[in-house]
Symmetry: C2
Subunit: 215 residues, 2 copies
């Protein structure tokens, strides 16, 4: 039986469902209909039902969805029931900010190591993790079952470092460098291009201003 590929449009919506269901669960809500959830989240009920049915039926006719059950199932779909070891490469401001962010741990993402090429930063402590030299990177990735590398380094070095990581068995790269990485397709890459995001905001500000000028 052929497994149908789930579209990235659907995947992209799962974390938001997960967040709303987590909040409902914390509020003690036991069940919810696609209609009620759609009003809360400002999406169509149709889309909610279609999205969930990509993964099989989580609901029950006449009843709706059990909040806690659905929350847990979406968590499993997202792989949050597993542990993922990650390292951060680049101990600058952004790297340290991400290293200090505790909430990732709550979702099974375990901070294991941090690297930088700047000797002044090596040995510094970020939430109990000592910054290591880039020379130690390859060995560390191989020996510590590291799934995810977070890249918070300048774009000039990002492509080369990504290649090194791939050669040492990394599974996924969370890329904050402002460059497109060129890695084999079995390596998962998620880009966070902050300046792209800011430019979109800029576009929308200006579009709105131009509309105002015209009216």
């Amino acid at each position: 039986m052929e497994e149908k590929e789930i579209s990235q449009a659907v995947i992209g919506r799962l974390p938001r469902y997960f967040r709303y269901l987590g909040e409902l669960k914390d509020e003690g809500v036991e069940r919810i209909s696609s209609q009620d959830l759609s009003e809360l989240m400002k999406v169509t009920a149709s889309q909610i039902r279609q999205d969930f049915n990509n993964f099989g039926g989580f609901g029950q006719q006449g009843y709706g969805y059990n909040v806690e059950y659905l929350y847990n199932e979406i968590g499993k779909i997202l792989g949050l029931d597993r542990k993922h070891n990650f390292i951060i490469i680049g101990a600058g401001n952004l790297g340290r900010a991400l290293g200090n962010y505790m909430n990732f741990e709550r979702r099974g993402f375990i901070f294991r190591g941090m690297f930088d090429q700047n000797p002044a930063l090596i040995g510094q402590d970020v939430r109990g993790i000592k910054v290591m030299s880039m020379e130690d990177l390859d060995k560390f990735v191989q020996e510590n079952d590291i799934d995810i590398a977070v890249l918070t380094i300048p774009k000039t070095s990002a492509v080369g470092v990504a290649e090194r990581l791939v050669n040492n068995g990394i599974r996924a790269i969370w890329n904050f460098a402002h460059v497109d990485l060129n890695v084999p397709e079995e390596i998962q890459v998620e880009n966070v291009h902050l300046s792209d995001s800011l430019m979109k905001l800029s576009y929308n500000i200006n579009r709105y201003m131009k509309e105002q000028e015209k009216a």
Copy 2:
């Protein structure tokens, strides 16, 4: 004449075009065809031509596109030829990281102020900007022509702060808090939900592992 609305799918691709064209420009490339650009960026030439034609014709039959001209035009479309004053609310690790990021300035985004409710942080210096008390926020936004507020505060306070900002005339919010803001539609919001991004990565890692198990 009715102005046709450009889809957010197209807008979302503009910063990436801008980045590639900037690099080509810096390399001294004078002109490029949609075909060549499509190979470089790994998108279809058809999409490139369609995207650009949303804004009128930037190219010339038989020649292609002039790199520098196209780069400048896309910059204008994105509003990067204007100055935008921004403040950061939340002087934690992430807020300080963004405050220290110089490249935003290069695109016309000017760092004007930083706020936090933690007395221990008030008065601290972030790239020449002193962290101010939240009590000073309303007045500062009103008097300093602030367009954009960057929210790097916990989700519990984000909704309230967003409302305050809107009341004091903010135009746009770059939201790093893990919550959906509820603001009037004329206020532009761009969400950066880091944990959502990490969850997508997690999904794709697990999907790939499951495929491997099956094979």
